[in-house]
Symmetry: C2
Subunit: 194 residues, 2 copies
Amino acid sequence: MAIRATTETKLLDAADALFFSAGIGATPIDAVLEKAGVSAATLYRGYPSKEALVAAALERRQLAWLDVWDAAIERAASPRDRVLAVFDALESFRLRADGARWCAFLGSAAEYADPPEEIARAVARDTAALRDRLRDLAEPLVGSRAAALAEELLLIVSGDLAMRLRGPDSDTTVARAIADTILQAHERAGTADA
Amino acid sequence: MAIRATTETKLLDAADALFFSAGIGATPIDAVLEKAGVSAATLYRGYPSKEALVAAALERRQLAWLDVWDAAIERAASPRDRVLAVFDALESFRLRADGARWCAFLGSAAEYADPPEEIARAVARDTAALRDRLRDLAEPLVGSRAAALAEELLLIVSGDLAMRLRGPDSDTTVARAIADTILQAHERAGTADA
DNA sequence: CGTAATGTGAAACGATCGTTTTTGTTAGCC
DNA sequence: GGCTAACAAAAACGATCGTTTCACATTACG
């Protein structure tokens, strides 16, 4: 009454590649099935609906994203570079060449006027993870201003992702420049407090 | 062989309200027709397809947006406030309570994997208008750094819009704070050049 | 080895959608 | 006031999509 791990992987691979590059609504379930080499009967034994498959693909994608982010953080030398590592992770995650156009989570939120519970939770978890980790990374650097700085960085990250919709020629240099400037400002203001 | 101005207005009003709040793909053409009180035959005498109606609604919406932005610029006293007037315009435009969830142009770009020509052009025009006007407004303030500043402001504006997908409780205060900081930085750097 | 779970393949379902067509009615205009 | 362009109402079209079903093949495993 369940599904095999290997076929689940094939399904999630195909779902990830198609849903988050061509779009969820623009991708028929048959396209996922064909790319995965899985029959429809098997898919619907493992997942109750297309939306459930989307939610599962989102959850797996967030784990992958957090792994990439963790690796970028470990590569950073200073507390300051650990905050800025989010942009290294953005670039690494994009260069996996999986064809995703901008952001799977923001894209899912954009496609559903009021999303099914499972998808809404996945998007909310992505936002919460971004916010919380940015705050934790900012805390050693700017202390009590960490929450405010994290909120600004979250907007910058979202802006970098949204800019990918405006043209293909975009990297993280602009976002990095903004983040660098506001980091300096918060550092100055932080030491002025003491 | 054409369409009456009053019925075109009714169509565009309905299209704007439905496409940019519920989403284009999620809005059947019948919903637009019902809300507009217009028959299908009339719509397809004026527009060759649904996508053409979307493009027309986008074009009209950009004119409205530029008007709101112009008004906000005129309300500003200093060159600096004229740059920051984008965020006043963003808030004014949102408070028209037309139900738009985030951004009609980014939303349209997100819904189509490769958009029909007319829609792609409308989105590109929105981006170009934002970039060019921000640069023109920044020029009196930071001179040769105007293009770089405009690119950063464009990302911040896009980030503010994208943040509306992450939760309903968002205004322009965070975006304003970031913009204020990077404005100070560019102003300092600008005077240091001379 | 045999059996039960898991898989394929293909067909069919009901529903929805964009678009066209037809017939008749309304509203603008000289 | 009458002619004509614009419109409503409704039905029908072909296509597409998510999902289910059924008959049969395959894989894992005690």
